[in-house]
Symmetry: C2
Subunit: 454 residues, 2 copies
Amino acid sequence: MTPSSALGGPGSHSVSSTGGTASSTALLTDHYELTMLQAALRSGAAHRRCVFEVFARKLPQGRRYGVVGGTGRLLEGLRHFRFGEAELGWLSERRVVDEPTLEYLRDYRFSGDITGYPEGEVYMPHSPVLRVEATFAEACLLETFVLSVLNHDSAVASAGSRMTMAADGRPCVEMGSRRTQEMSATAAARAAIMTGFAATSNLEAGRRWALPTLGTAAHAFTLLHDSEEEAFRAQVETFGPRTSLLVDTYDVDAAVRRAVEIAGPELDAVRLDSGDLVEQAHHVRQLLDALGNVGTRIIVTSDLDEYAISRLQSAPVDAYGVGTQLVTGSGAPTASMVYKLVERDDASGAPVQVAKQAVGKRHVGGVKYPLRMLGSDGRADTELIGVGASPEAEDEAHRELMVPLVRDGEIFGEYTGAEGLRRAAQRHRRSTAELPPAALRLQPGEPVLPTIFV
Amino acid sequence: MTPSSALGGPGSHSVSSTGGTASSTALLTDHYELTMLQAALRSGAAHRRCVFEVFARKLPQGRRYGVVGGTGRLLEGLRHFRFGEAELGWLSERRVVDEPTLEYLRDYRFSGDITGYPEGEVYMPHSPVLRVEATFAEACLLETFVLSVLNHDSAVASAGSRMTMAADGRPCVEMGSRRTQEMSATAAARAAIMTGFAATSNLEAGRRWALPTLGTAAHAFTLLHDSEEEAFRAQVETFGPRTSLLVDTYDVDAAVRRAVEIAGPELDAVRLDSGDLVEQAHHVRQLLDALGNVGTRIIVTSDLDEYAISRLQSAPVDAYGVGTQLVTGSGAPTASMVYKLVERDDASGAPVQVAKQAVGKRHVGGVKYPLRMLGSDGRADTELIGVGASPEAEDEAHRELMVPLVRDGEIFGEYTGAEGLRRAAQRHRRSTAELPPAALRLQPGEPVLPTIFV
């Protein structure tokens, strides 16, 4: 698949992955990426071949695994990482960098290689989820953008995965747009679908990545009408009985009876958004059944997270609507990934492993080669990471984890767009299914696979 | 000031507040806003005059006050809240709504009034921070977008305010772009500046709202070179001695001596990014002074939040770089504001106060009129909220809190753009200065002003 056809080029006005349209993503970065470039151009080191790796030193407190999210968005955004006249003009006017640096930026195209865990793959502490190989100049410029995308989307994906695991097949719907920044909302919706959510309420995400969207009515719709009956009638007349009626604006019991009376036995669903949901779900189920509406589903929404979903599994709930806790990463709004230089050429062109020694922030120098080791039962049991060379694992069952995402600047299109997301969702299912059963535990604990460097 | 000139219209390709360019913001919304519109158009209630209010039921756990953020971005985005052919085509193709609804959307322009706490103002639980008055159809459509902007930006502003309060005049710099979604990063940078941060590392935010940006170098720049000395020399040759050198890649002591040797007495700053910052700041200060660099500043960065800043106040630190904890709201990544219908006309055109009765989610019906009551010392002492009519407070010192932001669809331009942000920052200073001293306390406690309904 050739990538450049999938989205517009830098000059077009088609929708991009990140902003409203395909304008440049190149200023979505930190000032110091450009000043480092300027100083490195001057010292001559800017053209040294470098390897940067992205990893998280640890998972959020007590989490058993993480899920890589955002790779597709990252590649989509990379296509628009170009310095046009608008960007160059501003950098020049504000004297962010000097003229030779502006000249370099004018011609900037990422021409290196990017390898990584494909989107949807499970990761552990220190898993090298992305590797960027290019000159310092080319790779340095991408740091902030790469981290912004991966840190946000992986945080949402890691939370979303726990929620769909807890829901154990019951559909989850993403409804958190209003609780996060408006563009984050689209990215969060995408990450949710990737981890098994059935649909999202976010229309822009639906448009951008061909996601199923849904929604019916809020309390305001009921309050707008002179009575609940009028509101229900308006909704059923408009959408037919295969709709979802919100039954907790006034009195739940009365609302359920009214909903059944108006919509009849075909009523698709009632939604509960407050109170003790376990108790209410049981009560409403009995009432619906008693009224003959055995096929009417119960949807619950109200500050749900993976723990609440788990508690509700014993109740007769048919679907979960999840908002705030999903889009804010359920207590871990960022995946805390970093982008570190691990190897670079010296003046003679020979590669040198490098690592900083800062207290508490050391990292392991050298290019990493990860393998997921599998036990005799086919379950994953170790994250094995070779430094400098791939570990020898011929005799043991294992799985390669890294795939080429960009080669010589050419983006592998199969990881982008709606199709890329569909594949990521499949990968998420396979990768989580391969984990030991302890991965399902919600209580705090150690990562489910030990990370071993060899 | 006329607003429409400040930013491009819906058809232009200038930069908007939300996406990369001035494309529509209208699909940054939930599916159900449009289905409610369709059902209300059918029932006829869509054209009833409505009042929606935005408020937070509570502050994040233990917080003393909140800060309204995002009003300017909201108004900037409202200009681009239009359904163009691209949006209508997708809605039609996916059958999100029917043909009459699409016709309504085609002509959609918000023509109502928006009143609210101006950006930078302090808010309390139940403060009506925004009031939207329009037909149901017009006001309903804005819900998700309004909440996304206010919830995110207010969360960051509320955290940022505590950090600048804790820093007590020492400059804070926002550096969190890499820890949040790439477009959230620009909004977070803006909110930080509004609450007194001196600068941001985010270039796109700098371009968009004329913010001061800064940054020099990361550990990768040192590691790129064959020695720390080469790296420091490259940086000082490029930017002169008035630069900031990062001194914790290898050995802090050696690096500080090296920095002084290379840059001389004019060296602007050294940056510490790891370890025990209090202890290190004291040590590095002594070393710099002993070397004669009494004017060289010490900048610290490393997972800072308001508590860490407070602890560092006793150390000889000259500036704080703040990242993750700022952009993720320091434990409260969303302000949890809601958008509730509080009044609407009945069939005869007479206004009716409305409120839902859902357990734990009740709200107070009727239009609210808030006043900030002031004590004899000029300090704020109560958030007084009149329901249905402004409270009588002629004899007592007080301040009006709500200002017109949009009238008959015309946006008041003084709240938007770089100038609007500058005014919001002034307002934040004044509004926080007026709070009782307990507002400065970082330990968990009650909101510093009681909210009283009359």
